[in-house]
């Protein structure tokens, strides 16, 4: 992680993230995120905790219990969409790609992020939306 943290702090943060990944493995929902995405969210949260500036509250959790295993087809297509997203980002025009990287490294404020990101997120969003609908259905 960059984000202005020095080397030792980044090292400590990375170790914390790996320990959390191991501890919370049972909460990982492969129908809603790839492993890289899940690790990214844990790393982001750890970095925010260490900076002690702005708290980042999370939305009310939608958890899946043992009675609602994720659908295998959902899992497979989500993982495929995640792979496609990586190559789509790699193929973006240089300027857009750099903007996105800077946004995720924490170098841009919300007002500096472009209105049009150029990211093709429609398909992956629809997949996740379907998985959420199934989850809501199993909860009701």
């Amino acid at each position: 992680m960059k984000s202005g943290a020095d080397h030792a702090l980044a090292e400590e943060c990375a170790q914390d993230v790996m320990v959390t990944v191991w501890k919370k493995a049972a909460q990982f929902d492969p129908a809603r995120a790839s492993v890289a995405t899940w690790i990214f969210t844990i790393a982001r949260n750890r970095r925010i905790d260490m900076m002690r500036k702005d708290r980042r509250p999370e939305p009310e959790e939608l958890t899946w219990g043992p009675e609602a295993e994720p659908d295998q087809l959902d899992v497979m297509t989500l993982q495929q969409e995640s792979e496609l997203l990586i190559s789509a980002i790699a193929n973006l025009p240089e300027k857009q790609r750099v903007m996105i990287e800077r946004a995720y490294f924490g170098d841009l404020t919300h007002s500096e992020i472009a209105d049009e990101t150029g990211l093709p997120l429609g398909t992956i969003k629809s997949r996740i939306r379907l998985a959420l609908e199934r989850l809501r259905h199993s909860l009701s």
Binding site: E11, A14, Q15, M18, V19, W22, K23, A25, A26, Q27, R32, A33, S34, A36, T37, W38, I39, F40, T41, R44, N45, R47, I48, D54, R55, R56, P57, E58, P59, E60, E61, T63, W64, G65, P66, E67, A68, E81, S82, L85, I86, I89, E101, A103, Y104, G106, L108, H110, I113, D115, E116, T117, L121, I124, K125, I128, R129, L132, E133, L139
Partner: protein, 216 residues
């Protein structure tokens, strides 16, 4: 049915973790009520995952001792159980707002700001301010423009301005140049979460005079 959603730039900044706390609170509370934006956020988190994979390929390795240090920390604890499914709450204030307030609407410590309108400031970091507004049905919020960005999330009732109507779960994104006079609609009194990164500019003389005292 929610018709007014978060913008891509707000979702990306929330995903990246760079928003002021008050904005995080409004974004998270909207997502608690809106599966469309929950799915959009997950897709922006996927972008973060993709960026991470890209960086992992060309970044410097960790110290030699990192693996053994991590393994010994992992051995010292056991993994958590998968949490059981929770019923979805039916409160007026969803999480995380409910925790910030310390309960549902009846726990809010309102202060009158005149004309039947009440507000309660929610403590967050000082980069932006968050407050709950209570506007009786049929009453207008004082006419105001904006210095920075303002998010208004409806939690109960509805309000309408010249252009649109906003109901429970809808979020209005206003910025410099937006000048409007929202009016709470008939029926239930309107409760919203309003978040600003700069103080509002009220156009009337009296509201402007009162502004420094009201902290809005």
């Amino acid at each position: 049915m929610i018709n007014h959603h978060l913008s891509d730039k707000l979702l990306m900044a929330y995903s990246a973790g760079t928003l002021p706390e008050a904005f995080n609170l409004a974004v998270a509370t909207h997502i608690a009520m809106c599966d469309e934006c929950r799915a959009r956020l997950a897709s922006f988190d996927a972008v973060g995952g993709a960026v991470l994979e890209q960086v992992a390929q060309d970044s410097s390795a960790m110290d030699d001792t990192a693996l053994s240090a991590t393994l010994s920390r992992i051995k010292a604890q056991s993994p958590s159980e998968r949490p059981s499914a929770k019923p979805i709450s039916s409160k007026v204030l969803p999480e995380p707002l409910c925790s910030y307030v310390g309960g549902d609407v009846d726990a809010v410590k309102w202060r009158s700001v005149g004309g039947g309108v009440r507000q309660a400031v929610i403590p967050t970091s000082d980069r932006a301010t968050a407050r709950l507004l209570y506007i009786p049905a049929g009453v207008a919020v004082p006419d105001h423009g904006h210095n920075g960005m303002e998010l208004t999330l409806v939690l109960q009732g509805a309000f309408a301005d010249e252009a649109d109507c906003f109901r429970r779960g809808d979020i209005e994104i206003a910025d410099e140049g937006t000048e409007h006079q929202p009016i709470a609609q008939a029926g239930l009194d309107c409760i919203c979460l309003a978040v600003t990164d700069a103080p509002l500019k009220f156009r009337g003389f009296l509201p402007r005079l009162a502004q420094p005292f009201l902290g809005i």
